[in-house]
Structures are given as C-alpha cells and as structure tokens.
C-alpha cells in the first residue's frame, strides 16, 4: 500500500515541479469495519475501503487545493492542472509554505495487528456481551438503542517538493452502547464508549455497566430553581468544554481575532489549578501518531502551566505568520481538506484531589453529569448556554437527581473559576480530563 500511494504522490509532485510550483501530496488509504447489534443480532454491518489524494499547490505564494478519490495517472494529471489553475484566484501570501523535510520521526507504537487478526465473530461477540451486561446490571434498563463495534486502519503518506517524506500506518478500535432505562413513566438515556489502540484493552463489561448506570441515575430527576452555585463536573462533561477551549488556543483563530485568548501569551488566563497540554506522543492514546497532517514530527506541547498561557497551537502557515516553528498541530479529517490547526491528544492534567473531596465542602451545588447542545456554544465570544443534568450537592453529599436545567457562562470566567482539579484523568477519544470544581456557575431551571 505504501508503494502504491508513494507512486501516485511522486507522479503528482513531478508534474508540479515541471510547472515550477511548490506542492504537497497527502495520500490516505483507509479500511474500516463497523457493526451494530440489537437483541444479540447483527443489525448493520459496514465494511469499506477508500483511498484518495489531497493535493496542495503554492504557486508564487498563491494557494490552490484539489482532491480526488481517483489515483489513476490521468486523474492525477488533471488534479495537478486544476490545482495550479485554481491557485490563480487566491491572493499571494508569503506565509503559505510547506515544512522543510528531512525530519526525524519519533518511534511510536500506533499499530496493533490484533485488530485486523481478530475474527468478525469475536468482534460481534464484544457488542453482544456489552448488551447482555447492560441489561443484566439494572432491571430498569429495558431498551438497547445500539451496541456497536468499530475499527479503522489507515496508511498515510505525505510528500512535498522540499523533499519531505513521511509514511505511517495506524489503527484503532472501539465499542459503544446507547440505551434507555425506564421507571414510573420516566425514560432516560445512557451512553458509554471506549476507544483504544489495542484490541485487548476493549472492556465490554465496563462499558455496558457504565451506560446502564448513566441512564439509571437520571431517572425521576427533579427540576431545579435558578441560581448561581458551585459545580463539580464529570470528566466527560469537562472534555466537552475542552473542545471549545481547543478552538481558543488555535493560532489561526487567534490571528484572525476570533479568540478570547488572543494577545494573552505569558498572562494568567486560568486559575493556578489549570495545566493543559497537547501531546501527540502520549503512549497508547488515540491521537498519537509520529507526524501531523503536513508531515511535521509529533511532540508534546505545553499550552497552559498553572494558569499561565505559554503557547498556542500552530501549523506551518500560522507559525510562519507568528515567526515561530510549527508545533506539529496540522490536522485534516481526510484527504478531502486542507490541513488546519487541530489537536492530537488534548489533555487537562490531573491534580491530586479525589472526587468526593471535590464536593465535600459544598453547601449547595450541582454535580453535572451531562450537558446538551455544546455545539451551539460560541468559541469566539466564549459564551455558552447549554442544557444540563446532574445530581444536587447538599452539605457535601450527593442528594437528588436534577434534569432540565441550563448552565450558562463565559469560557473566560470558566477557566478562572476552576478552583480544584481531580485525580481521575480519563480519555474520551482525543480529549482527556479529570473531574473539576467550579466556584460558581449560573443555573436556570424553574
């Protein structure tokens, strides 16, 4: 597969060089399997394979980009021609540049042969087991919406006219379950998922139980009065906020005046309890890979230390604009898009407080276990107002379930109001966080 992709890329670069332009060929081949089980039977099974080329041209500072899923020589010739002709329409920008090449890439374990070796039947059984365990763990769980398994394998080849050549093969697997628990006319959803680099680390027992417990804890919850109060948030909920924060430390957003954190390097932007990194070398994590989407080597980037903003995340373009080196944070979803700044493993580092100690000292507060509508939060203004559910905290104890509330605020205040960070770090795909406590949040209910 590497040879096949390499040939296609080399052909494209050769044509580009003949026309006197700088170019980059991003080639991707992927294979994936997904299956869903309901009541022990496979309801859907998808197997697929795709390959493609994303071709970027820098023609005297002008950018052109064309993608194709057809890697035949004729199609490649057309892609190069189209990309050069499109580049005439964009404005020249001296910061359009390609990484230099001749890098040393870290040795990272990112491929587990057991994933493709495991039989289809074994994978189906993982989903079935999750379903059985979820149903058995609580009698109120009575509907499984979906129980599924996915795996994905990809080979990525990046080459450019500066002589850069990067090739890597990776894979990952995951299980997830979504279900409903019912009691006395009330119904609640529960969901849990687990994504791992190693097949043997998948744990259907844990996932099945967690989804069941998530659903059950929302049953017959009450609504709450509107107030400002301290909150504790579960790791998954914190990772939803991390997604917003990731956009604020994206150098492109900063440079375009679209981030609250613009112009704040070396300033205190969060409470001293906050430490944030982006680390593409973290062993065994899903976002780990030897190079980024431009072929720049993976590394660990320290973003916030004790509340102080150390660095933004850069790709080659934004780095050139800022006069710094790329931090290896160029990302693309597939060969169909240009690289842009993104995160690999975005981690709010754990502290040393246990979860019960986080809510121990709270007279009246909310332990937030779920948020809804986070995609509507505004990464530019930092404003958020989202649906929330959880458990009341009264005199240091978790008391009754709450739902139908909204929590609102601004991410700038959120960061400064984190006054304690738990020791229970947990990964959810490319984001990781522990539980946290916030001094105060606006909660609306009745």
């Amino acid at each position: 597969m590497e040879k096949f992709l390499q040939n296609a890329g080399a052909k494209a670069l050769e044509l580009a060089q003949k026309k006197g332009v700088e170019a980059e060929a991003f080639l991707l081949h992927g294979r994936n399997l997904s299956l869903e089980v309901i009541n022990g039977e496979v309801e859907t099974l998808v197997e697929a394979e795709e390959a493609g080329l994303g071709f970027r041209v820098i023609n005297q500072g002008r950018l052109g980009f064309v993608y194709t899923s057809d890697l035949s020589p004729q199609a490649i010739g057309k892609v190069v021609e189209d990309a050069i002709s499109i580049s005439r329409y964009t404005e020249a920008d001296s910061h359009n540049c390609l990484p230099r090449g001749n890098y040393e890439y870290p040795q990272l374990e990112v491929y587990d042969p057991e994933i493709s070796a495991a039989s289809l039947e074994a994978k189906i059984e993982l989903a079935r087991e999750m379903e059985r365990i979820a149903l058995a763990s609580d009698s109120r769980v009575n509907i499984i919406e979906r129980a599924g398994y996915d795996d994905s394998e990809f080979t990525s080849v990046i080459m450019n006219t500066n002589g850069l050549y990067a090739c890597g093969k990776g894979n990952y697997c995951g299980i997830y379950i979504s279900l409903v628990a019912q009691e006395q006319g009330d119904a609640q959803n529960g969901f849990s998922m687990m994504v791992r680099k190693n097949y043997k680390d998948l744990d259907p027992n844990f996932t099945g139980r967690e989804a069941a417990s998530n659903a059950v804890r929302g049953l017959n919850a009450r609504s709450i009065g509107s107030a400002h109060m301290p909150c504790v948030m579960e790791p998954y909920v914190v990772t939803r906020f991390l997604s917003l924060l990731a956009q604020m430390v994206d150098a492109e957003m900063v440079q375009k005046g679209k981030s609250l954190l613009a112009g704040k390097l070396e300033q205190l932007v969060a409470s001293p309890a906050v430490n944030l990194v982006d680390d593409a070398t973290w062993a065994g994590a899903v976002g780990t890979f030897p190079f980024d989407a431009e072929g720049v080597p993976a590394r660990k980037n320290i973003i916030i230390t004790n509340g102080n903003l150390n660095s933004y995340l850069y790709d080659s373009y934004t780095a050139s604009k800022a006069g710094v080196e790329s931090t290896g944070n160029a990302q693309r979803n597939s060969f169909r898009s240009l690289p842009s700044v993104g995160t690999s493993n975005f981690i709010l580092q754990a502290g040393s407080t246990s979860l019960p100690s986080l809510y121990d000292g709270i007279e009246k507060g909310l332990y937030i276990t779920e948020v809804m509508g986070m995609h509507t939060a505004n990464p530019i203004s930092g404003d958020f107002s989202v649906g929330a559910a959880g458990i009341m905290i009264e005199n240091g104890q978790l008391t009754h379930l709450v739902r139908g509330a909204t929590i609102a605020g601004n991410l700038g205040d959120f960061l400064r109001d984190i006054d304690a960070v738990g020791n229970d770090l947990r990964f959810f795909a490319g984001k990781a966080a522990p539980s946290i406590r916030l001094k105060s949040l606006s909660i609306a209910g009745e």
């Binding site: 301290p230 649906g387 909204t406």
Partner: protein, 479 residues
Amino acid sequence: MVMEGVRLDKSILEKVLEEALKKGGDFAEIYIEEKQLSNVICEDNRIEKVNSGREKGAGIRVIKEGKTAYAYTSDLSEEGLLKTAAVARHAVMNNTAISSKPLAVKEPVFRLNVKRLPEDVTFDEKIEHVLSANKSTREVSDEIRQVTVVAGDLHKKVIIANSDGDLTEDERTRVRIIVNTVASREGLIQTGYESAGGVCGWELLEQIDFESMAQKAARLAVNMLSARPAPAGRMPIVMSSEAGGTMVHEACGHGLEADLVQKGLSVYQGKLGEKVAADGVSVIDDATVEGKYGTFCFDDEGNYGQRTVLINNGVLEGYMYDRLTAAKDKTKSTGNGRRESYQDKPIPRMSNTFIAPGDEDPEDIIKSTSSGLLVKKMGGGQVNTTNGDFVFEVQEAYIIEDGEIQYPVRGATLTGNGPKVLNDIDRIGKDLGFSIGVCGKDGQGVPVSDAQPTIRIKELTVGGTAPTSGSNKYRIRRM
C-alpha cells in the same frame, strides 16, 4: 446512463445485484454517486482559499430479515463493484441465492429547475460576489473585526438500482452562501451569522440580495455588543418566523423519524391518532417545495420525495419512513430515506419540515404579550428523543414588556420538552420563514430546511447569565 468517464449499463447493475443476493437476502441495492464540489472562502479581507474536489463511489446494501449489510468502494469498475457486492453479502448467513428483478427506469414526478449549474459559473464570478459582500459587510461598522464569506456548490449525479426492479437516475445541485461576522468592543466579542442556499444553481445570486444579507450579519454582531445578559428562568416566548425552524426540528422532527419510534426511542411512539399538540398546530415534512435546501425528486433509495402531514390540527397522523422501517410497519415509504454519501446506509431523515402558518397577524402576537422574550434568530440545537427534552441556541432576542419590544439580550439558550411545547403554542401567525442547515444523525449530515410562522409559546426555560437576586447565592464552605 453516463457519469463522467463511467458507463454503467443496466446489465452490469443487474449482475451486481445478483452477486449481492447469491447467499440469499430479501433485498439488495446499489447506490452510485459522482460529485463535484467547490468552495470559495474569503477571510481577513481577501480570497484565502479556493478549493475543489471530485469524488465517486458506490454503496451496496443487502437486507435480510431487517438486518443490513453494507459495503462501499471508490472503485466503480465492474470488477470493483462485484467484489464489493461479495463483501456486502458475506454477512448474510444463508446459502440460497435469491434472484433480482430486471431493472426498469423510474421517471421523476418533477425535475429540479436549475438555471446556472456550478460548472457553468466561473470562479471569477463567484469571487466577485464574495468580495463585494465582504466589503459591504465591513463598511457597516468599524467595530467589525472579522468577516468570513463562503460560497459553496455541489453537483451530484446518482444512480440507484435495486432488486425490486427500480432504476432511478437523479441529479442534484445545491448552492450555499454563508456570512460570519465578529464584532468587538472593549474586550467583549459577539458574532453574527446569515446564510442562504437552496437546491438550485447560482441563479440564487439573482434571487437574493447577497450584500444586504451580509450586512444583516454584521448588524447582528454589532447590536449584540449592546445587548444585556439574558435573564434566567421560565417565561412566555414569541418566536418570530424570521428565527427559522430549529424548534420544530428539535421539538418533534427527530421524534417522528420511524426508526427512532420503532426502537422505542421516541416520545411519539404509539400515539398515532392522538392529540400531541395544541389546536391549530400542523407539522409537515415536504421534499417537493421548490428550490428549498432539503428538496429532492427522489430520496436516496429511489423513492419519490413527497409531502407528508405529520401532525394535523394537533393530532399525530404519521411518521417519516424509509424503505426498511416502512416494511417493518407494513406501510409505504414516505420517501424520507436519505444518506450523506455512498459511504452511508440510508435512514429516515427530514427534508423541509415546518409548522403550517395560521391566520393571526404577527404584530398582534407581540402586542398581546405582556412580558416575555422575542426570539428573532435561532442557532443550532439538540434533542433527546427518548424523553423529548431539547435545547437550542438563541442568537438574537429582545425582552418584551407591555406588548412592546424593549432591549436586546444575549447569551440565551432555550430548553424545553417537545410534546409540552407543541401543546403550549397558543398563537400562530400567518407568515412563514425558512432557515437552512445540515442535520446530523448517526454520524451522517444531510442538508435540510426548517420553517415556522411567528408563534407564541406559553412558557419555556431561558438559560441566561443575568445575576439572580442575592438570597439565591450559595457558597463553598471551606474546611
């Protein structure tokens, strides 16, 4: 039939379907797609990116006793398709081949009326419009810090053939323009957004005033700089028809998709024939409305797009079905089987979904509201169909006091419960306003539009950040 460079004879399609059913099955289908798209992006006062892409692929589906096996590939050669058909059928555990019916072309009931295809419009022309919209947006105020204008188009050709003998050929064109603005004043940042689009070609540029649309996005961002924080709590809500239909989409749209109903995941299950909304409230899903963003002649299973009355004068009349869910309920597909691309299996999806207009004057509705919130623009939302709870974002709102619009507020979210909201609609205007968007479900996005008249809802919870009175403050007790 021809797609660029790929000839697909009926006989090849029949052969692939036979291959797919070699191990048995109730139904097989091949969906072939070829698409070309382009985007022009202006940001930071210049054309920053121009990109284009071309892609083709096929998805082959085998259904047996309600279970689906699906395989997809970007190799459209006869060999590639046969190989993919073999992959799709290997999940079917029988050994008896089933035969596929000979294919007969299904003619559309209407055709899209596209006047200017994307490939007939030069980049120069698209860029000229984008740059002029950018310029007039920035001129609105010197508090505008950033403007992004995107003009995108898609031209897609689809061939769908199935073992029931249906052969459908369809062509879809879609264009969309989006303007995002950022304004700031003394460290406060607010944003504005406007979009327009349809299942049509670039004649859209002649039908809408691109520049005033862009300026509206700028004025919204600037106005919100003076807005006060929204209050938190329950209150009457007047939703302007200008706000678009996010509410109908989240409050009942998803809950009326047959797959969710059949899996026991919708509050609307088992309620056909019952009253689920207030008198006068009718909800319709219609894929045949001319030019709207969710319009189509055929859905992605080759069934005719149609107009389906979901709720009629408060009574639940029907759900949205695709082929598989219709077979389970022993009824006919309502032509709502849609997929994002050849990489996805179709599932019930909305098309253009709206609350039908009533007969009241929208101005009267505001005047007769003593206090509450006027919502003029909604953003995105999310729903939990199992219990009907939904959340959606408000981008432009004003406090109503004594029937008069008072001052703008920002940072509000509305939360509510679908069935309850539909029952709490007590005024329905005679106007109707559409908004376009991309609806996400099961990891697939499809283009849709939603609409509503100006309506009043007796009460919803507003999640704002305005400080509440002192007695409600709780402190952390230090140990």
